[in-house]
C-alpha cells in the first residue's frame, strides 16, 4: 500500500502520541507506588549496611523508625584533587545520637554492564569497612550480579582494612586464598572477573578520594559553597 506523504507523517505522529501518552499515563499512575517501593528498599538497605538488625524480620514501620532515629544525612566533604563531593551519612549507635557508629559513603560508577551505585559503611576513624550495600547494578544475573549478595557483602561487614596505603591500592579484590597479610584482601566472585575488576577500581577510586576529602574541613549540607 502506498500512501500520501501527509498521511504517513500524520499516522506516525498519531501512533507515537497514543502510545507515548499511554506509557506516560501508566508511569504517572504507578509513580507513587514505585516511589514508595524504592524508598522502602533504600531504608532497608540502610538497616543492612549499618547492621541495625535483620531487615528481613523487621516490618516496614520499624525499618522507617530506625532509619529516622539513627541515620542523619551528615556532612559534605570535597576532595580537593578531583572536586568530587561526598554527601556522607552518619549512623549513630542509639536514638540519642551520642556515639557515632559509622559513616555511610555513597559511591557510584561504571560496572561491567552499567552503573553500579551503593553505600559503603566505614568506621568513624576511616580504618576499616563495616558494611556494603549495592543499591543499583546491572551486572549479569547470577555472576557479576552477586556483588549484592552476602557472599560478597559479608566480607565488608567483617571488616576490610582501608587506611591510606602509600605502597599500593587501598583494597584488592582477588581470587580467594590470595595473600592477605595487611587485611586489604576481598574474595572475588568466580566467573565474574570483569565486574570484580570494575568494583575494585570503583571502590579504590572512591576511598582514595575519601581520605583526601576527610583531611579537609566539613561543609554544611546542602552543598555549601564559599
Amino acid at each position: 500500500m502506498t500512501s500520501k506523504p501527509w498521511f504517513i507523517v500524520a499516522f506516525m505522529v498519531g501512533v507515537a502520541l497514543v502510545f507515548g501518552s499511554a506509557v506516560t499515563g501508566i508511569y504517572l499512575g504507578a509513580a507513587d507506588l514505585l516511589e514508595r517501593n524504592s524508598e522502602f528498599l533504600r531504608q532497608r538497605a540502610l538497616i543492612a549496611v549499618f547492621d541495625y538488625g535483620d531487615p528481613e524480620r523487621l516490618d516496614k514501620a520499624a525499618v522507617a523508625a530506625l532509619v529516622r532515629e539513627r541515620v542523619v544525612a551528615g556532612e559534605v566533604r570535597t576532595d580537593p584533587q578531583t572536586g568530587r563531593q561526598f554527601s556522607l551519612l552518619k549512623a549513630y549507635e542509639d536514638a540519642g545520637r551520642t556515639t557515632l557508629r559509622a559513616y555511610g559513603v555513597p559511591f557510584r560508577g561504571m560496572g561491567f554492564w552499567g552503573p553500579v551505585q551503593g553505600i559503603l559503611a566505614v568506621s568513624p576513624d576511616l580504618t576499616r569497612t563495616l558494611g556494603l550495600v549495592i543499591l543499583e547494578q546491572a551486572e549479569t544475573p547470577g555472576l557479576g550480579g552477586r556483588i549484592e549478595e552476602p557472599i560478597f557483602t559479608e566480607q565488608f561487614r567483617a571488616g576490610i582494612a582501608i587506611a591510606p596505603n602509600p605502597s599500593g591500592p587501598v583494597l584488592r579484590i582477588a581470587a580467594p586464598g590470595s595473600p592477605n597479610a595487611d587485611g586489604r584482601h576481598v574474595d572475588a566472585i568466580s566467573g565474574a572477573t570483569q565486574t570484580c575488576l570494575a568494583m575494585e577500581r570503583l571502590l579504590n577510586d572512591h576511598l582514595e578520594s575519601l581520605h583526601r576529602a576527610m583531611a579537609q574541613p566539613a561543609q554544611d549540607p546542602p552543598t555549601g559553597r564559599p
Partner: protein, 208 residues
C-alpha cells in the same frame, strides 16, 4: 471446527515445535545467553516476553490495514517498545526485588528478533486473534527451550533449583563454573539444536 484447526490454534502449535523460534529459526538468542543461568530469572523473562509478543502482535494486526508501508518498521518498534516498557513497570511495581536483578534485560526484549519476526511474518498479514495466539505461541516456544537450559545450568553451576539447594549436594555435586558463564549457554543451545536436528531428520524434514 476445533481450536487446533483454527488459524490461530495452528499458528500457536507450529510455534511450539515445528517452527520453534529458538532452535528452528535461530532467532532471539541474545537473551538466551544472558538470563539462563538461574531458573527464576528465566521464568520471569519468558513471562515478560510472551506478554509483550502476544500483545504487540495483536495491536500490529489491528493497525495493519492503515499502516503505510514506508513507516511499517517504525510503527512496529514503537508498539513493541511501549508494551515492553509497561511489562517493565509491572515488574517494578509488583516484584521490585526481581526487577533489580533482571531489569536491564527486560529493556532489551525490544530488540529481541522474535517480536519483530512474528510481527513481520504473521501479524502483518493476519487478523488480531490468530496473531495474538501466534505471538503467545512464539513466547511459549521460546520458554520451552530456555527453561530446560536454565534447569541444567543452575543445577550444574550453582547446585540449586529455583534458588533452593538440592538435596545432599555435598555428596555428589561439583561446581561447573563454565555453566555459569555465557559459554555454557552456547554449548547447551548447540546441544539442543543438535538433538532437534537429529529428530527432525528422522521425521524426514530438513534441519535448521
Amino acid at each position: 471446527m476445533g481450536f487446533l484447526d483454527s488459524p490461530g490454534g495452528k499458528a500457536l502449535v507450529l510455534n511450539l515445535w515445528r517452527e520453534n523460534p529458538v532452535f528452528r529459526q535461530v532467532i532471539g538468542i541474545c537473551s538466551t545467553l544472558a538470563v539462563t543461568n538461574l531458573l527464576k530469572n528465566t521464568v520471569l523473562m519468558c513471562g515478560a516476553l510472551t506478554f509483550a509478543t502476544a500483545l504487540s502482535c495483536a495491536t500490529i494486526s489491528v493497525l495493519r490495514a492503515y499502516t503505510p508501508k514506508q513507516v511499517r518498521m517504525m510503527v512496529q518498534v514503537l508498539i513493541i517498545a511501549a508494551y515492553v516498557i509497561v511489562a517493565g513497570f509491572a515488574m517494578r511495581a509488583w516484584f521490585p526485588e526481581v526487577h533489580k536483578l533482571i531489569g536491564p534485560y527486560v529493556g532489551l526484549i525490544i530488540t529481541n528478533c522474535i517480536l519483530m519476526g512474528r510481527c513481520e511474518a504473521f501479524a502483518a498479514k493476519n487478523p488480531a486473534w490468530p496473531s495474538f495466539l501466534d505471538g503467545a505461541g512464539a513466547g511459549l516456544g521460546y520458554s520451552l527451550v530456555l527453561i530446560p537450559i536454565a534447569v541444567v545450568r543452575e543445577v550444574m553451576g550453582f547446585g540449586t533449583l529455583f534458588g533452593l539447594a538440592l538435596p545432599a549436594r555435598e555428596l555428589w555435586w561439583h561446581q561447573w563454573t563454565i555453566m555459569i558463564m555465557p559459554t555454557g549457554a552456547f554449548f547447551m543451545l548447540a546441544l539442543i539444536v543438535w538433538l532437534c536436528n537429529h529428530w527432525v531428520r528422522r521425521q524426514g524434514g530438513t534441519p535448521a
